[in-house]
Symmetry: C3
Subunit: 346 residues, 3 copies
């Protein structure tokens, strides 16, 4: 689709600096954009790339200077750029296939209007699939599981029995929802399986990356709050609840029975031990290991995790440890020597 | 199923304190249980929840006081609670489907009595599937692989060629058994693949979580000992052997050619380097990185891993490092100043 | 297949010390080899096992002494052993199945000569599959995706739409290529999805382990350079480029927009933050966390990662931290005491 700079600016309610008649057909990063492309500048760290970009127009914040480039100024350039990309390219489209004759749909399952069930996908007994939901090939939706409207389930996803998925949920390939939690009662050295009779609730507007694993609850439900987004290979333990609008970067692992608040952010490979409570708006750095409850708004780093300023200061000293040890030894030597040679009391 | 407190107590050989006629139909945690539910108290950390629980009966240790609640006292309350949950709810049941006409079973494969092969599952040439084993949709069992009796293989599992799975093994969705180990001979900067001609042996009563990956051996076998349980996204390298009755929490990674003893426990995101030996009954904390052999019974934490008391003490000091550095600088300054001003020998 | 020591030596251009007529039919490690087996000694750490091995012949370096064993001496014993294993056992063979009637191939897809499309695999519209490529069961190749010649795609792999896979690429089971990158524009506390309109390019001779996840680019391409090998559960973020002939050990995670050079090695569970540049020939230790650009040839360890000698020295001191703190307190006390008791100026 081709749009003029004017059309783009109107769409995002931005102010044009430069040529409003330029035609835009693509979007790219500052360094990769060429003629006919829109790009954006949200992080001022990249401001110098404005001088070298070949983009036709740049979506920028309200105070950025043009330097000869055509700009569209707006309040939130990254958000506005997202809107422009959606205008130009749209979201991925899903070919309507209906209920494939090569799928396997139980007689007792209910399939919504305009839902697409692709080849080699199994909809088990008493499962319910909402309207306009697309389930790609090689998925299994377990007995009694309910999937809402307007969901997209990519290939090779398994949702076990008795789970509930909201509306507008996207699950990427290879993710597994509702496998048994890791619960055993150990007796005389043998691990006896505790039946995992709970379920999983994935609320509306959640997006789950590839190869994630969300345990079903032992009793009750594991819950992922609405609007929360996970990247790839995230693991969530049984009975854990993650609040709404949180972000979990790739390879994050949260153990069982954790209560995570809303609007939390977990960096890549972050870990959280079981049975703790994490407040709202908490940020956990990549590779951090959270071992204690965290209050609202805390920002932590390190393993075990500390408040970030404390962690960063400690990490700064880490590399100087050998030198510090040397200095301590010198001080010790000096002091011994000194008290001895000067016949002073200690 | 509904049982009386008396029936539950008899089942677990426990002592009733209170009303043996109460009817129990469900199980829940102390905080979530309501009327008609049984719950348990195993960790005395939660003892105060006895006062607020709405459960009808609580399975507790032998010395716990009733505070007006109906209790069932027993030696190992978590184990006994597990038995009660199994009595009330049973384990997951698997609908018998036989060999689905929508599966693909090689003429040379052997399928045991009462085995269930679901839609879109492939049983390759010369594979052997035991009696009463259920293989859910979209699995592939490779050529010559043998799976024992009473196994449950959830959807989207791949077991490569030439692997051996024992009896009563459960493999959750998305797990992969027997992919090639990571073996290359690097010559002139190019990595040449070493054929991975070994296999994988999963012994009896193993449970494997979702999205795990267990490499086949280069030569010989990668072995997971009987009764060992893995949570999700565990990765096991080629030629590694894990002893019996061990527990591997989610996202644990064990490199190749490691020998792990029996009854070991690995916390979440723990890592183990290749070519080392870990004794029996070893405990590795979450996110620890094991880089050396460990003796029987060692408990380690940290990356690189240290004995846990040493690691905990070191971690305690970590946060004080900036202060310690400051103190060292002060001492240094004082001492210099001091020796100079007092014309003392050093 | 049975070969004589002479035939093996000729194949790898090695020098025989001992009996060239011995018959060899298998390969095994030093400790596991028996009569009729070839083994190797590449790491001199295992030299003492030469005395106890039951192997018939050992492939060794040019200066290793025989101690009564038959040896084949050569420059690069591990590489030569690999060649011997290939000679004896070959690489895995793939039964030719053609295009299975139980697969689902779009009318607009193009399938190369001698390609094998197994049961329950979907080749979507406008996808192109090269000659001699094997795609095992339960895979989905998305619309418009191109896969080169001589590739092997194991079961349960998903390659999303618009990706490009080179020649001689191997993808193990459960890996996902081309899922949406983790990109949202957060506005008023809600995360709005940024369309991920880029793709993934996997160059020639790449091997990808089980359950890996490689994000498609937001714009442009995520690229895995030729000859690069990944173990299991590796996660690569959107727009990241990994240079050729690199090695990524299991559970490594590289965030988005990272530029990694060629011939890099990442240890298990290593992590790399987004938007940085890593030079050529860089080595990142297991569990390290790379947070800054790295120059060519750097070797780093720790989280956050430091040059390895610095990191190792710091880690050595870590365990002594409690003792160092104690020493500092003593010094402080001594010094205070001392200045006070001796009426000296400070």
């Amino acid at each position: 689709m081709i749009k003029t700079v004017k059309e783009l600016a109107e769409h995002i309610n931005g102010q044009i600096i430069g040529d409003e008649t330029l035609k835009i057909s693509g979007a790219a990063t500052l360094s990769e954009a060429g003629e006919g492309d829109v790009t954006f500048l949200a992080n001022m760290k990249y401001e110098k790339e404005l001088q070298s970009t070949a983009a036709s127009v740049v979506v920028v914040g309200e105070t950025v200077e043009s330097k000869g480039l055509t700009l569209i100024r707006c309040k939130d350039p990254y958000y506005s750029f997202m809107q422009v990309v959606v205008l130009l390219h749209g979201h991925r489209e899903h070919e309507p296939v209906g209920i494939s004759p090569k799928s396997s749909v139980s007689d007792s399952a209910k399939i919504g209007k305009n839902a697409d069930i692709h080849d080699f996908t199994t909809i088990s007994s008493n499962a319910v699939i909402g309207d306009n939901t697309t389930i790609y090939p090689n998925c299994t939706i377990g007995p009694g599981t309910r999937i809402g409207n307007d969901c997209i389930i990519f290939p090779n996803v398994t949702v076990y029995d008795g789970c509930t998925i909201g509306d507008r949920v996207t699950i990427h390939s290879g993710s597994i929802i509702g496998q048994d939690g890791f619960g055993y009662a150990t007796h005389d050295g043998v691990h006896h399986k505790i039946p995992q009779i709970g379920g999983v609730i994935i609320e509306d507007d959640v997006e789950i990356g590839a190869n994630c694993s969300i345990d079903r609850a032992t009793l009750g439900n594991t819950v992922i709050g609405h609007g929360t987004k996970m990247s790839n290979q995230v693991a969530i333990g049984h009975n854990t609840t993650v609040g709404h609008d949180s972000l979990l970067v790739a390879q994050t692992g949260i153990a069982g029975s954790v209560h995570v608040g809303h609007h939390c952010i977990f960096g890549g490979q972050a870990g959280v031990v079981g049975h703790i409570t994490i407040g709202n708006g908490v940020r956990v750095s990549a590779q951090a290991g959270v071992t204690n409850n965290l209050e609202d708004g805390q920002i932590v780093a390190g393993s075990p995790a500390l408040p970030i300023t404390q962690a960063k200061r400690a990490m700064m000293v880490m590399k100087d440890l050998p030198e510090l040890r040397k200095k301590i030894r010198e001080l010790d030597k000096t002091l011994r020597h000194f008290t001895k040679d000067n016949h002073l009391d200690t």
